[in-house]
């Protein structure tokens, strides 16, 4: 049983930026009078509404049918945003209000006839673009809404800033080479050799035309659908190879279908590799990397190493902090550099969690603090700097730097020495708890770093 109220309740933004449902009386009356109450299938209902809205442009019925469709679309848009928030909100700091602002932009007042060509002078809500491009033969309206919402340029730019990207079909095709195409279609989709060959010719023809034009016309950013002349050129190449003729419309559909298959393969193969961190555990990404396990098999090895280097180690660590922090600060804009120092201080010296740090320094959430601090890189830079320092001061040990393996081992030893004190903090941090106070007082890393930071930051920030 479908919810027919979706056809007369418009979801729109209220003054606070939240979504609110409003009943549209004209749509409700029209729907209840003109659409058979026995119809219980969205596709059928939408087909009838589209027919009326398209044919009876200036009639009250046409306008009402148009409104019914827009009500349905507004609800679907809202659902997509809520879905995005549910899935990504926590880690990427998204909330539905942020998303609504981009896509929930139909207030139901203006009239947007389906068959009217889009006017560049007039703001057109997303619902209008959805209706105009919708082809009931290809997809259901709710699928089409989801597709257009997720590929909305403004929304995409916003999500990219938060660390999420959605490739367009055309970028996905650009990025796919023939060996990958074969793997996707043959092994994953179990398609026949003939189908695979056909797809190969299609993709090669697309590459020859679309990639060439993107470079020649210096197009940057979002890849737009191929133009009519591009589709014709692709068709021409296809015809040369297969002897068959293709209409532009058929080619576009074939390309979109191919992109869709590649996307499915992409999603399926995302598990188990560094880019494929499941979003259910996004924390697995940035913080703690593989702790070194080799090179320290004997328990005494570390202490011997540390004893030997102890004095140099302390001085070196301070030198390393000075160098790494000042270089980081140098490469960032002044405002951001200040934030970085402040965040570093709050994290390492005050023992604040990243979640707690975010509002203090005016950031949205933990993910932004993570990106600002880049702790893993910070630690690696400090280690390397320390190694360079040690190399300079302890010349008789410099021979240890002569093979990659020896160098790795030294790096690992320092990492173990530093990590023992830091990892505990970072793991705590991942659970969003506060940094244990004991770390703040006992950790060598923290002590020296804080000593350094105290001199860098004006007294006002802590």
């Amino acid at each position: 049983m479908i919810d027919k109220t979706r056809y007369w309740k418009l979801v729109k933004l209220d003054v606070t930026g939240s979504s609110r449902e409003t009943e549209v009386l004209s749509a409700k009356e029209f729907f209840q009078q003109k659409i058979s109450s026995t119809l219980d299938d969205d596709r059928e209902i939408q087909k009838q509404l589209l027919a009326i809205a398209g044919d009876e442009l200036d009639s009250p019925d046409g306008m009402a049918a148009n409104l019914c469709l827009r009500c349905f679309i507004s609800y679907q848009i809202q659902q997509v945003c809520i879905g995005l928030e549910k899935r990504y909100g926590h880690y990427y700091g998204l909330n539905q209000q942020d998303l609504f602002a981009f896509v929930l932009d139909d207030d139901g007042t203006a009239l947007f006839p389906i068959r009217e060509p889009p006017s560049p002078h007039r703001y057109q809500p997303l619902a209008f673009k959805i209706l105009q491009s919708f082809n009931p033969g290809r997809a259901s309206l709710s699928t089409w809404v989801a597709r257009l919402v997720k590929s909305h340029a403004g929304l995409n730019a916003f999500l990219l800033e938060r660390g999420l990207c959605l490739l367009s079909d055309w970028a996905l095709l650009n990025d796919t080479g023939l060996p990958k195409l074969q793997r996707a279609l043959k092994q994953f989709h179990q398609m026949s050799d003939r189908e695979v060959t056909q797809a190969q010719i299609l993709l090669e023809s697309y590459h020859a035309v679309y990639r060439r034009d993107r470079l020649q016309q210096r197009q940057k950013g979002r890849c737009l659908p191929p133009t009519e002349p591009q589709l014709q050129a692709i068709g021409q190449r296809m015809q040369e190879q297969t002897g068959q003729q293709y209409t532009s419309q058929a080619l576009q559909l074939q390309l979109e279908t191919l992109a869709d298959r590649l996307r499915q393969y992409r999603i399926a193969s995302r598990g188990g590799n560094p880019w494929g961190q499941s979003l259910d555990q996004p924390e697995a990404f940035p913080l703690v990397d593989d702790s070194p396990t080799h090179g320290l098999n004997e328990p005494d090895e570390q202490s011997v190493f540390l004893q030997f280097y102890r004095r140099q180690f302390l001085t070196g660590l301070e030198t390393a902090f000075t160098q790494v922090v000042s270089e980081r600060v140098k490469t960032q804009k002044t405002a951001k550099a200040q934030l970085f120092l402040q965040a570093l201080q709050l994290f390492h010296c005050q023992g604040e969690s990243m979640t707690a740090i975010a509002p203090v320094i005016g950031l949205q959430g933990q993910y932004q603090v993570t990106r600002l601090l880049k702790l893993k890189e910070f630690r690696a830079d400090v280690r390397h700097c320390l190694l360079q320092y040690l190399k300079r001061v302890i010349t008789d040990k410099a021979t240890d730097y002569t093979t990659p393996e020896q160098l790795n081992q030294l790096d690992d030893q320092i990492e173990v020495a530093l990590a023992e004190q830091i990892d505990a903090v970072i793991q705590q941090e991942q659970a969003n708890t506060k940094t244990p106070k004991s770390y703040v007082v006992s950790s060598l890393f923290a002590r020296i770093l804080c000593h350094y930071l105290d001199r860098q930051l004006p007294a006002s920030v802590h």
Binding site: Y88, L160, A171, G276, P286, D289, Q323, T370, D381
Partner: protein, 389 residues
């Protein structure tokens, strides 16, 4: 239609945004490339290189680095290490597509091959990891990769060290002498010879009924060496007449052992007038390529003529394993370090079952064989040599 929130990719927090100027520069460089099909790759190479430069600077790199680029090369020299780039656009995937030239072209040799994720549409890149030249060498010995239809090699992602901080460690702290030097060829050679990545397979040992470690790694099987009776050999210094193919064993001889098959083939060749040394070592290898079960016999022997410097002979017999047939247009190509010496292609019109290549050379010469199938799959084997003790 894929309708799921899963369509979104999380991009690493360490992603580097390229400026419009940088992207423009890469596009401009791609226009320099005369082959349209190569322009996109050139564009990606330059995106990768610029992203890497920016990454170095972000990590506080203050020393200078210089870029080396030509039509086929896009490299950086950092702290005396040569760095080449492998743009990775098709993640997530367990295989990385590597243009052939990166591996095969001598001018592209580098100490480190850096894997760079390219988000072309977003104008962003991420440094994923790297592969040391010596590690590439080792991997290539044990797992040589066939050439794909689009002239790329597919490297397993597992070959790469996915901790780019490790690369920074090397660049910052490693003595340049710590890495085996890579030699840069004076001029690009063509056709390209991947032999530099390959160890030599000692075919002389076969005569002593031994296989070296390399042959064992590549699953060669040794057959007992044979002393051919004079009657089996064509006599006197006849010029080598080489038939390009021989027929299948007759029906009654099916299911022969490899040794029996090899003997029969040699016998048949000798009868056709092919000159064979008095004693030959034989090894063979079975493998699957593009779903076709192939078998390659390699026969070696010493040729000594009075008053002549000693030479050696390599005879290759390529066929399908029993029960299968070699597809038409299968090609067997043999070359020295500088030139192609034999190229045999199985014609549709013959009913031959084996492709044959016989080559002779000085004792210090080695030969590299490449087998290509009509679908485009190709395999280049480690070179055969006959070194003096």
């Amino acid at each position: 239609m894929t309708d799921s929130m899963l369509e979104f990719d999380p991009i690493p927090a360490t992603t580097i945004a390229l400026s419009g100027i940088q992207i423009d520069y890469a596009m401009g460089q791609s226009h320099q490339c005369p082959q349209p099909a190569q322009q996109w790759q050139t564009y990606l190479d330059f995106l990768a290189m610029q992203g890497f430069e920016q990454w170095l600077r972000q990590r506080g790199w203050t020393q200078s680095f210089e870029s080396v680029h030509s039509l086929t090369t896009c490299q950086l020299t950092v702290n005396q290490f040569r760095i080449a780039f492998i743009p990775n656009v098709s993640q997530p995937d367990s295989l990385v597509s590597v243009p052939r030239a990166v591996v095969d072209a001598p001018e592209n040799l580098a100490h480190f091959y850096v894997l760079v994720s390219i988000y072309e549409e977003q104008g962003q890149v991420a440094i994923d990891g790297f592969l040391r030249h010596d590690q590439l060498h080792t991997h290539w010995q044990t797992q040589p990769q066939p050439l794909e239809v689009d002239h790329t090699y597919s490297f397993p992602l597992a070959w790469f060290d996915l901790n780019p901080d490790r690369l920074l460690l090397y660049l910052r702290c490693l003595l340049p002498t710590a890495m085996p030097p890579v030699e840069v060829a004076a001029s690009p050679s063509s056709p390209t010879v991947p032999a530099r990545l390959q160890p030599l397979m000692n075919a002389q040992l076969w005569l002593q009924n031994q296989l070296d470690a390399i042959a064992q790694e590549f699953a060669w099987v040794l057959l007992p060496s044979l002393t051919l009776s004079p009657g089996l050999r064509s006599t006197k210094g006849m010029p080598i007449s080489l038939s390009t193919s021989v027929g299948a064993p007759s029906a009654g001889e099916l299911m022969r052992s490899p040794l029996e098959e090899a003997e029969a083939l040699l016998y048949q060749l000798a009868r056709q007038g092919v000159v064979l040394p008095p004693q030959v070592g034989i090894a063979y290898r079975d493998w699957m390529m593009a779903s076709i079960p192939l078998r390659l016999y390699a026969v070696s022997g010493e040729i000594s003529e009075p008053g002549q410097p000693p030479e050696w002979m390599l005879l290759l017999l390529l066929g399908a394993q029993q029960g299968a047939t070699l597809p038409a247009e299968t090609t067997l190509l043999v070359r020295t370090a500088t030139e192609i010496v034999v190229e045999q292609c199985l014609q549709t019109t013959t009913n031959a079952d084996f492709l044959i290549a016989q080559v002779m050379g000085n004792r210090d010469e080695s030969f590299t064989a490449t087998i290509s199938l009509p679908g485009g799959a190709a395999l280049t084997l480690p070179p055969f040599g006959f070194p003096t003790d």
